[in-house]
């Protein structure tokens, strides 16, 4: 076998050699490191792959970490990554994402889908900490490298709670605007999709006040800039942007594909913690942002995909053990999302756990001497039950 001969040629890094035992026996056939890898001895590692393009990743790379190029970080993920992961990226000075089965499945669906049909909705669900947001980010990275326009809403729950300012909407009497959230989101949207802003032209005239309006044929960038600067009407600008993108995605001339990535989509149906001035609760549909986003999630447009995750952390009035779609979405949410393709995200498999463990060892994150032994590894498996986020928190102590 190729990899055995390579291991002899390596300098005696004991943990690397020790791990080259049949841990890849499950599932994925040939030894991954033989495929798509450059044979540079100093970077030989079982848990990494050099295949940094999500398009070319396949089951062979399952369980391995690929590096997101630093240039992509600020453009693709200005607001999408989980906070602990962002800290990890800063600490390790690199952003490595594990290639896992749910993301691969999503990407393969996206590759094969027919974009003239109504949009398909994909829903990632799983227990807390199993890696739904990271799978979503992986898919978003794929869409971004393929040149899609990405509409990433980092957490829909942020729009239904803790909102300091609620303005009554100028456009629709019974609705409420959230200027701060809307302008923040528009700013991040602008960072992500710089190149599309000049290419897409508006198809309709939008009047904001008596003196301000955006004409037909103007580039989308102007609309977004206006929304960022005029914070008061930013929620309506968001609505206009979503509508334009919906109409123009998948169009035949200058068509682009639109990926709507929503994290915590169960926040859109349910309850909010916001109150009106007379202390009566605000229903989600009375918020402009939520109303417009719900329209995006419907499948009455074509030329893109809706990828959503459920999230119990941050959700309101949901029990902490709930993770299945119907429990978190509720009846209304389920009926709106139906028919969707549920994609379960499970805990780490044995191979993925090994990979993660080796990665932490490689980054010298596990400092405790006991954690580098077999006994320590078994303890980690037992304590974390192979839950990715629990493992990450445990290793942060070591």
């Amino acid at each position: 076998f190729l990899h055995y001969s390579l291991s002899i040629a390596l300098p005696p890094l004991s943990y690397l050699v020790a791990q080259v035992r049949p841990l890849h026996g499950s599932g994925c056939g040939q030894q991954q490191e033989a495929v798509g890898m450059e044979m540079r001895p100093e970077t030989f590692s079982i848990f990494r792959t050099q295949e940094n393009d999500p398009d070319c990743q396949s089951e062979q790379h399952q369980g391995q970490y690929y590096t997101v190029p630093p240039s992509h970080f600020h453009t693709v993920f200005p607001h999408g990554l989980p906070p602990r992961y962002q800290q990890q990226v800063k600490t390790f000075n690199e952003g490595c994402v594990m290639v896992r089965q749910p993301a691969l499945e999503l990407i393969s669906h996206l590759k094969r889908a027919d974009y003239s049909k109504p949009t398909l909705r994909y829903l990632l669900y799983g227990v807390k900490g199993s890696g739904k947001t990271m799978s979503l980010c992986h898919t978003v990275h794929y869409c971004s490298t393929q040149g899609w326009l990405v509409l990433h809403i980092p957490d829909a729950h942020l729009w239904v709670k803790n909102c300091k300012e609620l303005l009554p909407s100028s456009y629709h009497a019974s609705r409420f605007d959230q200027p701060i959230q809307a302008s923040n989101w528009l700013r991040n949207f602008r960072t992500t999709n710089e190149n599309f802003l000049s290419k897409i032209k508006l198809r309709q005239r939008y009047v904001w006040t008596k003196r301000e309006s955006t004409e037909e044929g103007q580039p989308l960038g102007e609309l977004v800039d206006m929304g960022v600067s005029r914070v008061k009407s930013s929620s309506d600008v968001v609505g206009a942007v979503l509508k334009e993108l919906r109409l123009q995605a998948g169009g035949t001339e200058g068509g682009f594909r639109l990926a709507v990535a929503v994290d915590g989509v169960n926040g859109l149906w349910g309850r909010t913690t916001l109150k009106k001035e007379d202390k009566s609760p605000v229903a989600p549909e009375e918020l402009t942002l939520v109303h417009n986003l719900r329209k995006m999630i419907n499948n009455d447009w074509c030329g893109g995909a809706v990828i959503a995750t459920l999230s119990q952390t941050g959700s309101l009035y949901a029990p902490s053990s709930a993770y299945l779609p119907q429990e978190l979405l509720g009846e209304e949410g389920f009926d709106s999302m139906d028919p969707f393709i549920p994609v379960p995200v499970s805990l780490y498999s044995e191979k993925e756990f090994e990979s993660c463990y080796l990665y932490y060892l490689d980054r010298h994150w596990l400092q405790h001497p006991h954690s580098q032994t077999e006994e320590g590894k078994k303890e980690l498996i037992f304590l974390s039950n192979r839950n990715p986020s629990v493992l990450e928190r445990l290793c942060a102590f070591l």
Partner: protein, 301 residues
């Protein structure tokens, strides 16, 4: 003797004084007596006060030394019912168990039972050991009547007492007396034991006919009132129909014919079954997988 009474009076005077001055004599250092890992044992030397040489009203030297806790003198085969005959708060000197309770502060362990307020606060059942309950039963026996000797088989009991009512009571240590499961009462009647057959048949016939009558308010039954989920006319059906129509799966045609054709397809049937199963049975991994496969088939993936 006189000296002793004098000491006592000085002592009580001293205590009155300190009540006036607002100092807590029992806890001279005002240390918290719970949730600390520090020892609260003041019994030996200093009592925490610097030696004042027998001066002042807070004279410690004359205080009677606390004796050994009762646990030291407990034989293993003692009668526990004498230690805790009734419901009393936890006394750490009377319970010979090394119990710990409380929040471990700063990498410590839960504090020990000595001076532990947490153990005193919670209700305990130390007075209800099996032996104690046996003793209670023995004591109650003189007040009970004998079981009637004629009712010695189950069949005879059923014959004489056909109606059985079963109530459940729940005991728990908590803030509330009430337990919602205690409201459920089971009443059992064996139909074959009923004597008045004609009356029973009459009742059943009446009920049957009554159940067929429709009241005016029944027509206001909404989807939320339905006992079971029915897929027809549900949002799920509407969604899938519109999706399929837009996907132009069935080819061109007018509304009704297309709908019928779509509904008759096996994938749509499967989809309908999976959604019904999800809604009626609740969710589980297997039903989600079934739904997933059905959706993939329907949408031709």
């Amino acid at each position: 003797m006189a000296a002793h009474t004098l000491k006592k009076s000085i002592w009580s005077l001293g205590r009155i004084h300190c009540h006036i001055y607002g100092v807590n004599v029992r806890n001279p250092l005002n240390r918290a007596t719970y949730a600390t890992a520090l020892s609260t044992n003041h019994s030996s030397q200093n009592k925490g006060f610097p030696d004042r040489g027998n001066k002042g009203p807070f004279n410690r030297r004359s205080r009677r030394e606390a004796g050994d806790p009762r646990t030291d003198r407990m034989p293993v085969d003692q009668d526990w019912t004498t230690v805790y005959p009734t419901a009393t708060p936890f006394r750490q000197g009377s319970v010979p168990l090394p119990v710990r309770m409380g929040f471990p502060v700063k990498k410590g362990v839960p504090p020990e039972k000595k001076g532990n307020l947490e153990l005193i606060k919670i209700p305990n059942f130390l007075h209800l050991t099996p032996l104690a309950i046996k003793k209670h039963c023995e004591a109650l026996k003189p007040f009970c009547t004998e079981w009637p000797s004629a009712l010695d088989t189950g069949a005879k009991c059923d014959e004489h007492f056909p109606v059985k009512v079963e109530c459940k009571d729940y005991v728990s240590a908590g803030t509330s007396l009430r337990n919602p499961s205690a409201r459920i009462v089971h009443l059992r009647v064996s139909l074959s034991a009923c004597v008045n057959y004609d009356y029973a048949m009459y009742l059943l016939t009446v009920l049957y006919h009554e159940s067929w009558k429709m009241e005016a308010w029944e027509s206001e039954k909404t989807v939320a009132d339905m006992e079971e989920y029915s897929w027809e006319d549900s949002p799920s059906q509407k969604n899938i129909m519109s999706t399929l129509v837009r996907m132009q799966v069935a080819g061109e045609g007018e509304g009704e014919a297309v709908r019928e054709e779509l509904l008759g397809r096996p994938e749509v049937q499967e989809y309908r079954d999976s959604v019904t199963r999800l809604k009626n049975e609740g969710e589980s991994e297997s039903s989600m997988h079934q739904y997933r496969d059905a959706v993939k088939k329907v949408l031709n993936l």
